[in-house]
Symmetry: C2
Subunit: 373 residues, 2 copies
């Protein structure tokens, strides 16, 4: 077996993530590896924590990056905050709400399902009814920005409802963080997780997570041990805590954290509101172009995510052939449909560094050429 | 808050890991991010799988890299292969055997403990007695190379014993893979996990894992769901399987996998036996020098790991001050003691790319200067 060095062809990444990574982030990634308990590394982690707090708009002391992808960030929330027998209202309007249900049930919780059609936001009224029907509910879990459909749910209203019922919230912000308005403290979100590879435009593999003091209190009051050792945040807190001596839990993914630090630094330099506005502006440009190509959106305008544009594949167009030609002729990746939308829709991402004029132009021109064939 | 770009001071990493990363691995890491379902990436994953099989000396079709550090590799083995009520013999002769116990109990298994003193190998006789005393044992779990003490256990003999009793084995090869002889198929290991940041000299954050067909059969025969969604290998297999269409499970840590591919490629170029011999040779050089400095080893010669040299801190020497001075004057990291050996021993790693003549010389000369003060 002779294996050559791997030299990937550079692509423009306009799928559902990973998104285009900023060159400075790749440079940061390749800086010399140092020890995970080196004082320089620890100081960098403190900065990273502050930058995650800024991105989430929270002052939660419990704010970290889980050393694994967004799916592990999701699991971190459920495995720590759901105890066996806990009733959890789970909103399903796409792939990731269903994954939440599986998380709840695997740790022995009881999932109360609130279903909405794919492409629709979570219905605030249905959640209100579920909360009224189940007064012993402990948690409400929903996806802010559904990556499988491109629908945005009203996280602010849903969290306000939960607070009225003294129910904690777990919010999936994998695709929302850095791309659209998200205010963890102001909205009263109790547990939130995201991913590095969407609107932060960092490499995939890390999951920013934050727990409110109420969530930490629920974790600390557990009567059963957290079923996962790796994701047990009572153990991880000792490593990420800003005070005193860091205790070893696991070896942090040192270089990936360099990259996350740089991507969050770039976000902070731009300013969160400016980043949100840029995503909206690029979405407007892309939307007009897609409509001129005759493509229609899966999600109604009011609930559309600017960073993830899901459009129906026109009748007679070969899904896989178009995506393959975009990739091979133009080195452009757009996303296939997922789950119920597989083969029916494309998902065109404008996430983070990918949300640029040149990407919009390339995507529209390339789609036009390829679809004309 | 103004955050400057992070520019770590290059270090020589001779602790218990992360170890020095080969420059080609850092270069591979920073190559352009492409999609995790891109045909080029999928082909690279196939190569990576073959290279992991080579490193483990296995033909197991179920051979992958878990998208998280070695601790998650450990959890992958326990969470998939231990069902509630399963009796598991867990050998404890350091920190990581104890972590195995916690893994067993968190998933509802029953841990039968075989304890040996820190710094000693696992006693094959005690394991034989435990297997005889517990004929309903399902699994035997032990650490091949204890990173907390530097002791090497006889994995071949322990696995032979387990096979006589028709018991499956889970072997921690975090520090052994690439550094000392490890033959998964020949020895009959059923589940093995490692880490990217030890003798592979890759960046931290990935965990190579392999399951034998017997382990896969136990997983497939489970009557209860795997308690972790993220680590459920029945779901992950669909993504890593070499045949047909890859199904999406989670977003792979694309760039870290580039780095793993390159580090395994370098190992294969050198040849596994040559790499083992290099670790032995560098250990001999270091050992002589350490003995000349009057330092004594925690582990008896017959059971010493060449890649992790644990020596007692001489009386009157300030542990933290010495390590800090090595770091600040010479940019040299050696490891502190862990657990029962905290404050009592240093752990000097010669792992992967760090196992070089120049590192041995630097370490000995620097220790001599700093300890003379």
């Amino acid at each position: 077996m002779t294996v050559a060095p791997f030299n990937p062809t550079p692509r423009t990444l306009m799928g559902p993530g990973p998104s285009d990574v900023h060159p400075q982030v790749l440079q940061a990634l390749a800086k010399p590896t140092i020890g995970h308990l080196d004082p320089q590394f620890v100081a960098m982690m403190d900065e990273t924590k502050a930058l995650i707090q800024y991105a989430f708009q929270t002052e939660n002391p419990f704010t970290i990056a889980v050393s694994a992808p967004g799916s592990a960030g999701m699991e971190t929330c459920f495995v720590n905050l759901v105890e066996p027998g806990d009733k959890v209202i789970v909103c399903r309007n796409g792939v990731f709400g269903e994954r939440m249900r599986q998380n709840v049930e695997r740790v022995g919780g009881e999932a109360i399902l609130v279903d909405d059609e794919w492409g629709h936001p979570v219905s605030v009224d249905k959640v209100a009814a579920a909360l009224a029907a189940h007064p012993d509910t402990k948690l409400l879990a929903f996806v802010h920005a559904e990556t499988s459909t491109g629908a945005c749910s009203d996280a602010k209203a849903l969290c306000a409802l939960a607070q009225q019922h003294e129910v904690l919230t777990i919010v999936d912000a994998v695709t929302s963080l850095g791309g659209i308005e998200l205010r963890v403290d102001e909205w009263g979100i109790d547990a939130v997780y995201s991913g590095s590879q969407k609107c932060l435009s960092c490499v995939p593999g890390l999951s920013p997570v934050s727990f409110s003091p109420k969530a930490v209190a629920k974790l600390e009051a557990r009567t059963s041990p957290v079923p996962s050792w790796f994701l047990d945040q009572t153990l991880v807190m000792g490593y990420w805590s800003g005070t005193g001596k860091r205790s070893y839990h696991h070896t942090a993914p040192v270089n990936s954290l360099y990259a996350l630090h740089e991507s969050l630094r770039l976000l902070q330099q731009e300013g969160l509101e400016n980043a949100w506005a840029r995503h909206r502006a690029m979405h407007q440009e892309l939307k007009l172009g897609l409509q001129q190509l005759g493509l229609t959106f899966v999600v109604e305008e009011a609930h559309r995510l600017p960073q993830l544009n899901t459009v129906y594949i026109p009748a007679g167009v070969d899904d896989a052939a178009v995506r393959a030609e975009l990739l091979h002729r133009f080195n452009l990746e757009i996303g296939a449909g997922l789950g119920a939308l597989a083969g029916k829709a494309w998902r065109i991402g404008l996430m983070g560094y990918a949300a640029r004029h040149e990407n919009v132009l390339l995507c529209l021109a390339a789609l036009k050429q390829v679809m004309a064939k």
